[in-house]
Each structure stands twice: as structure tokens, then as C-alpha cells.
Amino acid sequence: MRYEFKVALRYLASSKFQTVLLVGGVGVGVLIFSFMTALINGLTQFQIDQTVGSIPHVVIEPKEREPRVLPSDHSGTEVLAAVQRGTVQREQIRFWQNALETVENDPATRVAVPVVAGNALVTRGQVVEPVSITGVRPEHLSEVAAIAPAIVAGTANLDLDGVLIGARLAHNLSVEVGQPVVIRSDRGRERTVKVRGIFSIGIESLDERVAYMNFKSAKALLDLDHGISRIEVKLKDLDSAASAAQAFAGATGLKATAWPEKNKRLFDAIQGQNSTGGLIKFFAIVTIVIGVASALLLTSVRRKPEIGIMRSMGVTKGFVTKVFVLQGVLVGIMGALVGAPAAYGFCALLADVARRPDGTPIIPVDPAQGNYLAGIALATIASAIAAILPARAAAKVDPVEAINL
């Protein structure tokens, strides 16, 4: 292979202009590939972040109780029964520490957040507003919702006597940071807390109807002394949600739902743009194949007399084939090594420079998610495949015909 390599390199070096064009072409293909990957992945992340706040990848909830249908002894007669879900017991995860520990120790898990949730009324003076309470440990707040960056007054401080509310709710209640409000849960418990922070996420329902509290105080308020409402899990790898959910369900005996199931429309939208992106990436690779194949085919025609003389010297078809495939591989590698850094630079530039006045990116491209290694590998493989046809054409050169040219 060493000598084939030398010949291939010499051929590439001798037609410098063509080689530079080819390497540039492959480079552009890799650039498009990695840019699209960075864009689609960035866009996906952006949508997930924007649409649902930081959504959990898997939600673990209590199993819905199977309502029992009492057997009738009227055998042979049809029984019609309307079945209603049991309302006698509250839905909560009991023995949640065990379940939490199991999930936390799973290697797929990045973080597992115990959450209590319930409904309450916030009262200040004569104004009463319904809210839904979410109680988490202070260190978990950022995992459950992007509150901290949305704080417009006060801080995202979740101490035992504090509450974080949305800007619209604050407006409706005419409260400011530091002022007390009374929260009464639908379990009849009541607590006076101080507003520590006011957030504005930009989604009306959240800014008007959601309040965040400390895990412990929310537990007491919602009368969940021995249980929690759910465990929200963030995984290391977003794509493993379905399998992780299954594993969690099996290990805990609870109901575990992966995010695509909980957010069907978002998931479908993301799927849609992924397949569009996939198509563009596919065409980028096809472009590489066509470019490399046509250039090498021209080379094989131009070098026909040389190939003929080689064959007359007793150089094997295999040798000629390898020389051409190696040219493809070399062009692929060089193009990829040019294209991948260029793609990274381009993405980084876009992410850095193209921003709205408020600092959010215009194009939510994530340079870290360009999948550059895949781009390099695919470009190299594509170039090698592209070289097969010209290599076969070259190996088929008839020495007599070529020498008489």
C-alpha cells in the first residue's frame, strides 16, 4: 500500500489546481453538514428550552390506580359498567426516597429532582388569585425551570419562608419583592410567605399562574408529609429518554414518561426539522460524492496512456484501483480537515455575532453540537466510495488502446 500511496499523492500534487478545488468542494460539503447539524441541534435545544422552559426528560409519577370492577355472579349475562378513576386516595409517590435513590444512581441520569405540586390561592388584602405551586429544593430550581435568568425583581431565592411569583401575578396582587402574601392550599393549610423574586418568562400562563416554593414548605402546605408528586429527571443524553423511562418504570414500579410522549407536538416539530436537516446533510454528502467522482473520472481519462503503460509493465489492476481510491480518500480527509474547523468557526461566529439587541441569538446554532467527527468520517467514506467508479474505469483501461493514443 505504501507505493500506491506515493503514486496517489504524486498524482494529487501534480494537478494542484484540481486538487485544491476538490479539497475545497469536500470542505464545503463538510461545512454544510456540520453547520446543519449544529443548527438543527441548537434549534432543537432552543425550542425545548423556549417552549416548555427546561423540560424534564423523564417524569416519574405515581401509577394510576386500576379501578376495580367487582365480578358479578350473573354468569352468561352481559354486564355494562362505567368505570371511574378512584378519588379516595391522593396520587402521590410514597417511599419516594427509595425511588429517588434508584433513579439518581442510574448511569443515564444527570440529575433527579423531587417535586411537590398542587393548587392554592394567593391572598393579599382583598385580592385572591389561584396559582399552581411547584415546590423544589433550592439547588434544583434551575433544573425545573429557567427562573433565575427570568428574574426581573429580587432574587431566585427559595428559602423556607419565600415564594417566587410571575410578573403578572405580582401585578394582579400589587405586591413587590419583600412583601408578604398568604397562600392557602386546596388541602386547607395556610402559610404566610414573603415574595423573594418576581420572574417574567414571557408566557402568560406561567407569569400569571405559577409560583415556586421551597420543597419543605410546599410539602407541608400541600399536606404531602410522606410523599411527593413526581420526580423530574434530566438525562445525560436527551435521545435515551425512551429507554431510560422504561428502565426507571421497571426499577421503581412507578409510571415513567419520556419527554417525547409528554410533549407530542414539540417532538413532532423537532422530528420534522430533524428530517429536513437530515435531507440537507444527505445532499451535502451526495455533492461530495458527485464532485469527487467526476473529478477522478476526468483524471482517469487524462491519465489513460500512463495507466496503459503501467498495465503493460505488469502492474496489477488492484494497484491501479488502489491508487485511485487512495486519491479519493486523501481528498476526503484533506477536505474534511479543512471543512470541519471552517464549520466550527462559521458556527461560532454566527452564534457570537448574530444576536438581537437583547442578546438572544438570531440563529440558534450551537457550535459545540456540529458532530464534526461524523462529518469528517462521512466525507472520507463518501470520497472513498466516490473514487470506486473512477478506479474501476482506470483499472479497466486497455493497454494496447491506451498506448496507441
Binding site: R2, Y11, I309, R311, G314, T316, V400, I403, N404
Partner: protein, 245 residues
């Protein structure tokens, strides 16, 4: 110059034995019968010219004997091996080890230096330019008078020099037979004579067998024996002035 000598173990029997070779070119509907029953023997160490008018089939015959073209019928053996029906892979390897070619046009690889061109037939089949290969190539280039131009790009040499590199390349793998198709046809008189001189000397030194097609009586006169092809058959060799012995 001992290293120029090809291995000889079957002296006495013909190196090349050609029997009743026919070759018909088929181009669509048109069939051209070019070789019409050629038979002759070549012995080791012979220097033979191949003569005949233009279009008589000399190049076709050389291509057949060089295993580049399959005869339509007939048989030929070299070193006792029947090459008529041999598989392509086998013929390629046989050619590499046993046959050297020199063509009218030098056909050097333009992107390689003189010595790289000479090394090519060995390097391409022996996995690279080993020291031994380089040594022999340098020796051959010195022998053809280009010791000082070894590292010149092929394109930087004169026509005569290029053809001498081609001769050195043909000898690289110590072939038993060199087939030369009008090797001086593209050269001026002086270069032509130099090249022919070289072929004759190498033949004398090494015992390599040469079959050289030519239209040039002076070139033919340097050969020991003449085979004339007329209209695809072996014909009478016309008289021409003999070179001084």
C-alpha cells in the same frame, strides 16, 4: 555488468515459440483479419528485427506476444509456458517478470523522475522502492548514459534521453524478452543511432532477447536476424545493406 544478465536455465529450447497465430479485430459489424497464421521461434540472446510495410500487423503481433492482446487462434509459449489461454492475472504477473516494452513514444510517467520511472515496474509489484531496486535503477540509468540526470523530472529530458530512460525501465525486472515497437521512430538520426547502439550493447552484454520492429534499414541492419510480416503473414525479407560486423 553481470547484474544485467537474466536468469537462463533452459538454453537450447526456444525462448519464444509462436505457432499459427491469427488475430482478427472486431469492431461492431466490421471484422479485420490482421494476423493470418504467424509462426516462428526466438532463441535466447537473439537480436531480431521485425520488418514489414505499414499496416502489415507488426504492432499487433508485438501486442500479442507481449500478452497485451489475445490472439484469435494459435498458440505461443515463452520459457515453455503456454500463454495463449492463461488467465489475465497470471499474464499480468508474467509480463512484469519476463517482458520489457519499449514503444515509439517513451510513455514515461510525467510526474516522476527518471529514476522513479525506472524503478516503477519493480516498486509497484514489490511494495515500494527498496534499496536494491534503487541500486539497480541507478545502475541502469548510468548504463544508458543518464547517471547525471537520475533525479530529473521525466518532462525535463530530451526526446532521446526519455527513450533511453524507457529502455532502462524495460530492463528493470531483468526480462528475458524485450519487445520494442519502432523504438527509434520518434527520434532524430543521432538519438536513434544512440538508442539502437544501446540495445545492441545490452543484448551483447546480458543476452537479453530483443524483438524490434522498425522501418529504418540502418536500425534493422544492426540486428542478427530479420522477420518480415507482409499482410499478416511471414514473408521474404528484402535485401538491405548489412552493417559492418
Amino acid at each position: 555488468m553481470n547484474s544485467l544478465i537474466p536468469p537462463s536455465n533452459d538454453a537450447g529450447t526456444p525462448l519464444l515459440s509462436v505457432r499459427d497465430i491469427f488475430k482478427t479485430y472486431v469492431q461492431g459489424e466490421v471484422e479485420t483479419e490482421v494476423l493470418k497464421g504467424i509462426s516462428f521461434d526466438l532463441f535466447r540472446g537473439e537480436l531480431v528485427s521485425l520488418l514489414g510495410p505499414s499496416g502489415s500487423g507488426k504492432s499487433t503481433l508485438l501486442s500479442v506476444l507481449g500478452t497485451l492482446l489475445r490472439p484469435t487462434s494459435g498458440r505461443f509459449t515463452m520459457r515453455g509456458i503456454d500463454l495463449t489461454g492463461a488467465a489475465e492475472v497470471m499474464l499480468t504477473a508474467f509480463r512484469n517478470r519476463n517482458i520489457g516494452f519499449v514503444f515509439q513514444y517513451h510513455h514515461l510517467l510525467p510526474d516522476f523522475t527518471a529514476i522513479e520511472n525506472v524503478m516503477f515496474p519493480a516498486a509497484a509489484t514489490d511494495g515500494g522502492e527498496t534499496d536494491a531496486i534503487e541500486e539497480r535503477a541507478a545502475m541502469l540509468l548510468a548504463r544508458v548514459g543518464l547517471g547525471a540526470r537520475m533525479h530529473f523530472k521525466a518532462t525535463k529530458l530530451s526526446g532521446g534521453q526519455k527513450q533511453r530512460v524507457a529502455v532502462a525501465r524495460a530492463l528493470m525486472n531483468r526480462p528475458a524478452l524485450v519487445l520494442a515497437d519502432e523504438p527509434t521512430g520518434n527520434l532524430d538520426r543521432e538519438s536513434a543511432e544512440q538508442v539502437m547502439e544501446l540495445l545492441a550493447e545490452i543484448n551483447a552484454e546480458s543476452g537479453t532477447t530483443f524483438l524490434i520492429s522498425t522501418h529504418d534499414p540502418d536500425i534493422a541492419a544492426r540486428c542478427h536476424r530479420h522477420i518480415t510480416v507482409i499482410d499478416g503473414r511471414i514473408g521474404e525479407t528484402p535485401p538491405f545493406p548489412r552493417a559492418a560486423a
